[in-house]
Symmetry: C2
Subunit: 279 residues, 2 copies
């Protein structure tokens, strides 16, 4: 049986039902077209690379609830964009006696799941796979400036109206918004995830950026910059969608992309959704 | 004229109207009782240490709006708990051409203001000055466990009811809350500001902590830990008040404390308030 083969587009195809997690992960990495990323966080977090994969789930966070849904679907390879254990490098030495960590790890091991993180490589795709997913989610393709994925020129609207439009797209989330609700705007820049406030501020400095639609930032950084800008009468604003809302559609796109070259193993996206409720 | 003198309590008093910013700042640091903190962020961020101080404002963030209010009150020493320029160390080399930074700096210099940060030293007071302010704001003195400032045993309530109580205290803020709204709780732990998710998780691991009332955390850290804990049926929750709500009352207390030893210069607290609106 051919486990994988090179398609005419140069993509590796995974066929058959007898592929190991490591075969599939290697193919995914090669298919991103990215050079090898040293010291990447995209490694197997739990499980054996030799595990035969019955089904694949893509998700933003491999939460307890996502893991249970994956097991119910008979999927044993979980591809998550974000960490499994609550910090960027999935360090666990501080959790030796932590009951939340131990129960999650036990659940994963009892169910012989493989958890692989797909973060650095999906962002290294051309175009960035997360941005592609967000473009579909936002429905802003016709507003993209010169074919970019993070710059949009919308029909003139106000900050309040833009927030209302985004709330229709992300109804489960409550955004923190800095800026004058009546501010008129056209030029939107996306900054999904947590790219750092220096990056946020560099974007806000640009003349052709009225509003940044961001993931998250520490509250003493981008928030205060945007507050001062607003207070100075500058036409600048930030809508913080939250980290998950700003990237999760990328893992929905990821499932679709995987189905393009993984032929005989079911692949589905499971929504993590917001971690919080707002009050 | 005696510029300062040692009181019977060992506190340095500042009397008279002719004191420089550096004399006042030195007295404040000595009066905290803290050993000298190497590499502290508590330095003058803008202005001359020789400036004669006409009036003092304490605040959480020296926002543009706070600066204008201070000038309107004829105050020229601003004591802020948090950074002036959007990052912990107030690094500004990246802002050489940033119009928000330049306008703020120009306003401060045109008005000959002195901006001093009071962060590390107020947290080093015994008890922590920020915690003392928060205790008054919360009105939880009768619930404090063994005279602590961050551990409370409340009459049994639910997470939802606790959120409602906190909303009455902080009506301008929208909290992100992780946990079952109907969870019963008694044991509350405070973690103001951004002490890091390792600290948050260490607290949540404790048997005598049902709910953490926190400032802020990256959304891939404490948020996801608390989501998994909840999903595992553990009786754990986090209410994120936001960084400002979780500490601002400390700077109100600070003004009161300063008035105890600064006798002839007016000292007032100005609220920064939330940087965002929620939608």
């Amino acid at each position: 049986m051919t486990l994988f083969s090179l398609s005419t587009t140069g993509q590796i195809s995974i066929t058959g039902k007898n592929n190991s997690a490591s075969t599939i992960i290697d193919a995914i990495i090669k298919n991103t077209g990215s050079p090898i990323i040293p010291n990447t966080v995209d490694v197997i977090k739990e499980g054996s690379p030799d595990t035969k994969v019955r089904g694949i789930v893509t998700t933003m966070f491999a939460t307890m609830d996502v893991l249970r849904q994956a097991v119910a679907k008979n999927c044993n390879l979980i591809i998550a964009h974000e960490p499994l254990y609550y910090n960027h490098r999935d360090e666990t030495k501080q959790f030796k006696n932590d009951q939340v960590f131990l129960e999650k790890q036990r659940y994963i091991r009892d169910n012989k799941l493989v958890i692989w993180r797909f973060h650095d490589y999906i962002h290294s795709m051309h175009p960035d796979g997360v941005s592609l997913g967000m473009l579909t989610k936002l429905g802003w393709k016709q507003y993209a400036v010169n074919g970019t994925l993070d710059q949009f020129r919308l029909p003139e609207t106000t900050l309040r109206n833009l927030a209302e439009e985004l709330k229709k797209i992300f109804p489960k989330y409550t955004f923190y918004i800095v800026g004058d609700p009546e501010m008129k705007l056209k030029n939107v820049r996306l900054a999904p995830g947590a790219p750092g406030s220096n990056y946020h501020i560099e974007l806000l400095e640009k003349e052709n950026v009225d509003v940044l639609v961001a993931g998250e930032s520490p509250q003493w950084e981008t928030y205060e910059y945007a507050r001062d800008a607003t207070s100075q009468g500058k036409k600048k604003a930030v809508i913080f969608l939250g980290h998950i809302a700003s990237e999760e559609a990328g893992m929905d796109y990821c499932a679709e992309w995987l189905r393009g070259f993984i032929k005989d193993i079911p692949v589905s996206f499971i929504e993590s959704g917001p971690s919080y409720w707002a009050y």
